[in-house]
């Protein structure tokens, strides 16, 4: 504790988000419902300000705060910037839906911003305690967001399941952390790594700790066998909440994995590599097979998330910088794709109608060819068909695993990707070749949402044509942090 650092400047973005979230919570009490756009504007402004400060305070050097409990490195900054972007898109896409269902309230924005704060802390956590704190902040926000529409039975059930299972997972994570602390005598990830290196020891307790930590991480990701909550919560939660759960928090989970496993438990890589392998293959297999038979779009996307998580784990199990970078690339494209996918569902929904059955997309091309085309790009990207960015995501991940020697796993993943292509292309087929059902109803979404969604989906194509830009950012930022 002798060289205590207390540089609040490193925490500037977090403080902005915290202050603004509390301010919005308070302000909402005094604002008339018809003026709620002020809250919306303030939330977007918060994200902008946080991005501004993150960008401004960024230095290539690594900064610490709170006695090394908080780290501010390039990886953290890049992930945070991605989170702001993702959250901002979420705000744009969900506004209309919330307005239609009387959920357009200040608490929503405050809650999302608090969740964001939790994620930022996770990303910058350099101590197991910080990481856990951030995780809990995020999780509590997400539980309550799922239950936000409190009269909705389905949503309440989903929230309950999420809460109970989440608590169980949190408990496991904390239990694992306590074991690691007991064995190494430190909460700091760097110290833990050093301690394991020095003692060379791989005692059973250490492995047990590792297993529990991995279980906690896997729960956050939704990897098999900790995936059970995913489909029920995705389907049960109101679509905006599904969108929130399914997108940005995955970035936080990625950061948490990097901090805990890569930076903290790297000496045990051989063990968690095998766990990752097992979970990756199981996730891809079970995710894809289950997705085939789904009729609910949100549930299908939930299973598709599980299979995407499997691919992300492929990068981790390579256990080298190349693999981590490819995972990072995969997860950032995944976040973009899933926000866009749920964005389309939100776009097609209107008052009293949820466009969440796959059959609701039938004949979309005849009703609205442009949206059908956007959905086509998104589905192609999720299936990993060139020239969309989804192809490069899968390609880099599998390439990394191939180079690391996981031949049969890569082969099976490719086969599974073919099966996965079925349910994505099934949606394309329904949109383009089936006759529309029901009467034609005009899309009521506001212009800004339609425009941004169009740019967003086309961006998946653009990134696929020029994957180097994003790939480069991912690779460089990761390398700078792992040095």
């Amino acid at each position: 504790m002798d060289n205590m650092q207390f540089d609040l400047l490193t925490l500037l973005p977090e403080m902005v988000v915290l202050a603004m979230a509390m301010f919005i919570l308070l302000l909402d009490l005094f604002i008339l419902p018809q003026n709620r756009f002020i809250i919306y504007g303030l939330s977007q402004f918060t994200l902008f300000a946080a991005a501004f400060f993150t960008f401004k305070t960024h230095t290539p050097a690594v900064g610490f705060a709170f006695n090394h409990m908080f780290i501010d490195d390039t990886l953290a900054d890049v992930i945070k910037l991605m989170m702001y972007l993702g959250t901002s898109l979420i705000f744009v896409y969900t506004r209309k839906y919330l307005q239609d269902r009387n959920l357009y309230r200040g608490e929503f924005y405050a809650m999302v911003l608090f969740g964001l704060l939790g994620m930022m802390i996770m990303v910058s956590g350099h101590s197991m305690l910080t990481i856990y704190m951030g995780l809990e902040l995020l999780s509590l926000c997400l539980y309550s967001l799922v239950a936000f529409d409190r009269d909705n039975k389905q949503a309440s059930e989903a929230a309950m399941k999420y809460f109970v299972l989440g608590a169980l997972a949190s408990g496991m994570l904390l239990y694992g952390m306590s074991m690691l602390y007991g064995m190494t005598g430190s909460l700091d990830v760097a110290d833990i790594a050093n301690s394991i290196m020095q003692h060379q020891g791989k005692s059973p307790v250490m492995i047990m700790g590792l297993v529990f930590v991995v279980a906690g991480i896997a729960f956050k990701f939704g990897a098999v066998p900790f995936q059970m909550w995913v489909p029920d919560v995705y389907q049960g939660a109101p679509t905006p909440m599904t969108l929130i759960i399914g997108s940005v928090p995955k970035l936080a989970a990625y950061a948490m994995t990097v901090r805990l496993l890569v930076q903290g438990l790297h000496p045990l890589a051989q063990d968690w590599q095998d766990m990752m392998l097992l979970m990756a293959v199981l996730s891809i297999v079970i995710g894809n097979f289950s997705a085939i038979v789904q009729t609910n779009l949100k549930r299908m996307l939930a299973y598709s998330t599980i299979s995407h998580v499997g691919f992300i784990m492929f990068g981790f199990m390579s256990a080298n910088a190349n693999g981590f970078a490819s995972s990072f690339f995969y997860i950032s494209t995944y976040v973009l794709m899933s926000i866009a996918g749920f964005g389309i569902i939100l776009l097609l929904s209107r008052q009293g109608f949820e466009a969440e059955q796959i059959d609701d997309l039938k004949g979309l091309n005849q009703k609205n060819p442009w949206i059908a085309f956007l959905m086509l790009i998104i589905m192609f990207s999720m299936a990993g068909i060139p020239p969309t960015v989804g192809f490069y995501a899968k390609f880099t991940v599998l390439q990394a695993a191939w180079q690391a020697g996981f031949t049969w796993a890569v082969v099976s993943a490719v086969l599974m990707a073919v099966i996965g292509a079925f349910y994505y292309l099934n949606i394309v087929r329904k949109m383009y070749f089936d006759a529309p059902v029901g009467s034609q109803v005009a899309i009521t979404a506001p212009m800004d949402m339609r425009f941004i969604l169009s740019v967003h989906a086309l961006g998946l194509l653009g990134l696929g044509l020029f994957p180097e830009s994003l790939l480069g950012v991912c690779g460089r930022s990761l390398l700078m942090s792992l040095q």
């Binding site: 729960f219 900790f226 038979v293």
Partner: protein, 695 residues
């Protein structure tokens, strides 16, 4: 303008005209369509005449103008080989093409596809010129396929008629067979000679004359024989030699002008031209020459028989074309390449004339093609009558007419040839003379003389019965396989009993007259230089030692006849003339004097009649064996290979398995929270056991 530029222009002018008219056919007025294409072909014809004149004065050229691509040591080039042979072909092609262009203005007057038709025939002219001007196998093959393509397009020109579609499909498929052999032959040339250039190949040919190659396992074959035979398979397809002749009669489904241009005068003679061009190769294989001769003889004789029983005016002429192509092929087999080319040229004129005359008759008869409904047309179509008479006389080989010189030379050359098969070939061509005379004048008498039969109660009923009768014999399943589709489409109006046929306008009669002139005199003019002069020196090679027929022929000519007139006088006393005259007389007697006799013969000799009616069963054999065979094979592969194995077991099987797995997997998700928690705990437990125990 340099000669090279002129040579470039000759094929390119028709191509440009074809492209402009073809692409803008919906925007250009009809007049412009024919003005443009005729201008292109006329200019090309004039330039060809100029080039021909140059080559007569000793000009020749063998040069590549464009390298398409290089692959290792092999160069794919576009080049011109201009000598007397190609220059003469260019003149014949462009001249006949020009005539047909002009004629088309009248023939296609009311057709909605007017501009398209002009575009096609100009494209054809380009393709044929590329073929004959080529100095390498690659370009030869290009021209070969391009003329095939246009032929296909034109046979199916009236693409709404099922019969036309059937005919062009048939032409396409049969030509595939020929082209397959041709391509293999070119492959042999490329592989063993290492070049596609004519000059290089011919230069190396003597070195390789005795080379044996191992094909089909380890059997040894003479390289030259195999190559020549494979190339000849291509010629058989294009020049409609038995057994690949079946497409030509059906090609009459196309409009008459193209029957004249493509299926009589030019394209079908491409095979003859090609073999003559390859004379340095063919001379090295007597086996190949014998085969060529026998195939030609079979075609010449047996296709002639079929002409006797046809009632469709165009089909009679078509069978006579087949027979004459057989004559040319026989001449090739006898190493009398120059005679074959000579006959090719005279035939181009008089056969184009006959076809265009037939077209004129068809127009006069309001698109009724059944000769049994015609008669005494000389009164109404005088120009057509005179020109057709000239054409027929030329065809049967009347002395002084063009056909006489070429055909008599063929017969003599075969007589003087001693390679295996020449005895049969001589018999065939001699009998063929009689047959040719008989069916040609049967047609002539029935059409231009006798009673005006369209005024009588129509034969339609009878023809209909006949047609259905034919259909029964022809094939069981394909009703469109029969030939007599005289009444099966809207185009055939026929003439009412009280109508008079009228001679079409000058655009039709002018080409007839312009073609009648060479049909009459070209033999007289050309025989001495072409057969016995130096015209084909350095172009066509004959190994005079082993194949002396041509040398003997020249000797004979100079000894006995001295001049073309002398040859004609001598011809009056020869066996072929006697046979031709008796053929004419017999047909006059049968069809003018005693029409009951042919009917009686038809009754008596029903078996022979049926054989001829079924065209020796080639069509039904192809239909049953090849068509059904490949259909069964396809069905087998489809049913078993595709549906059962690939679709059933592999594709749908995989999908079924996936579906089953998916249906199982979904049950993992029970919706009960304690199941979920249990799964998590089990997962952690398994992981712990696994990693602590194993590692």
């Amino acid at each position: 303008m340099t000669i090279k530029q002129i040579l470039m222009l000759i094929p390119l002018l028709p191509l440009m005209a074809a492209a402009v008219v073809g692409i803008f056919r919906n925007y250009l007025p009809r007049t412009l369509a024919h003005v443009l294409t005729i201008a292109g072909v006329a200019a090309s014809c004039a330039l060809s005449v100029y080039v021909f004149n140059q080559t007569l004065n000793g000009f020749s050229l063998n040069e590549s103008v464009y390298t398409w691509l290089n692959s290792g040591d092999i160069h794919f080039e576009v080049g011109f080989l201009i000598d007397n042979l190609s220059a003469m072909m260019m003149v014949v092609v462009t001249f006949v093409s020009l005539m047909v262009h002009i004629y088309t203005i009248g023939y296609m007057e009311e057709d909605p596809g007017y501009s398209r038709f002009f575009s096609y025939i100009s494209l054809f002219t380009f393709s044929m010129l590329m073929l004959v001007m080529s100095n390498n196998f690659m370009q030869l093959f290009f021209g070969w396929e391009a003329v095939g393509l246009v032929s296909y397009l034109l046979i199916g020109f009236w693409f709404t008629r099922p019969t036309a579609i059937y005919a062009n499909l048939k032409a396409f498929l049969v030509n595939r067979v020929g082209d397959f052999g041709f391509l293999l032959g070119i492959g042999m040339v490329l592989y063993y000679f290492g070049s596609l250039d004519y000059a290089t190949v011919f230069q190396r040919a003597p070195e390789l004359a005795n080379t044996q190659v191992n094909l089909l396992g380890n059997t040894s074959w003479s390289l030259m024989t195999v190559t020549c035979l494979l190339l000849f398979v291509g010629a058989m397809g294009k020049s409609a030699q038995v057994p690949l002749h079946v497409w030509l009669p059906d090609s009459m489904e196309g409009p008459t002008p193209i029957s004249a241009l493509i299926h009589a005068a030019t394209m079908v003679t491409a095979g003859i031209f090609m073999v003559a061009r390859m004379s340095p190769l063919y001379e090295l294989s007597t086996t190949a020459l014998s085969t060529v001769m026998v195939i030609g003889a079979i075609t010449a004789l047996f296709m002639g028989f079929l002409g006797i029983i046809q009632n469709d005016i165009k089909r009679v002429v078509a069978y006579s074309t087949l027979s004459q192509l057989g004559y040319m092929t026989v001449a090739l087999g006898a190493s009398a390449y120059s005679v074959a080319i000579f006959h090719l040229m005279t035939h181009a004129f008089f056969k184009a004339l006959l076809f265009l005359g037939a077209g004129s008759v068809i127009m006069g008869m309001h698109h009724d093609q059944d000769i049994r409904n015609m008669g005494n047309l000389k009164k109404y179509l005088p120009i057509t009558w005179i020109t057709s008479l000239i054409g027929s006389l030329a065809l049967i080989g009347t002395p002084f007419f063009a056909g006489f010189y070429s055909k008599d030379s063929i017969i003599e050359a075969v007589e003087l040839s001693h390679i295996p098969g020449s005895g049969f070939a001589y018999f065939a061509v001699i009998v063929g003379v009689f047959v040719t005379a008989f069916y040609s004048f049967r047609l002539y008498f029935l059409v231009f003389h006798g009673k005006e039969k369209w005024r009588q109660p129509h034969q339609t009923q009878d023809a209909h019965l006949n047609a259905t009768d034919n259909a029964k014999h022809d094939t069981q399943e394909d009703s469109h396989a029969h030939d007599d589709h005289t009444h099966d489409d809207a185009h055939h109006h026929g003439l009412g009993p009280n109508d008079d046929p009228h001679e079409p306008g000058w655009v039709v009669t002018l080409p007839l007259i312009l073609l009648a002139i060479p049909s009459f005199i070209i033999g007289y003019i050309a025989i001495e230089p072409m057969l016995f002069g130096t015209f084909f020196n350095n172009v066509i090679f004959v190994n005079a030692e082993s194949h002396p027929a041509m040398a003997h022929l020249a000797h004979h000519y100079h000894e006995m006849m001295h001049s073309p007139a002398g040859m004609a006088m001598h011809g009056l006393t020869s066996l072929p003339f006697a046979l031709a005259a008796s053929g004419v007389l017999l047909s006059w007697f049968f069809y003018m004097k005693r029409p009951d006799i042919p009917a009686a013969i038809k009754q008596r000799c029903n078996l022979i009649y049926q054989v001829l009616e079924n065209k020796y069963g080639f069509d039904s054999f192809n239909e049953k064996f090849f068509a059904n065979g490949s259909r069964y094979l396809g069905k087998l592969l489809w049913q078993f290979g595709d549906i059962t194995l690939i679709d059933g077991a592999m594709v749908n099987g995989t999908a079924r398995v996936m579906g089953k797995i998916a249906a199982r997997v979904r049950h993992l998700q029970s919706g009960l929270i304690y199941h979920y928690a249990f799964a998590m705990i089990i997962g952690v437990f398994l992981f712990m056991t696994f990693f602590i125990k194993i590692n």
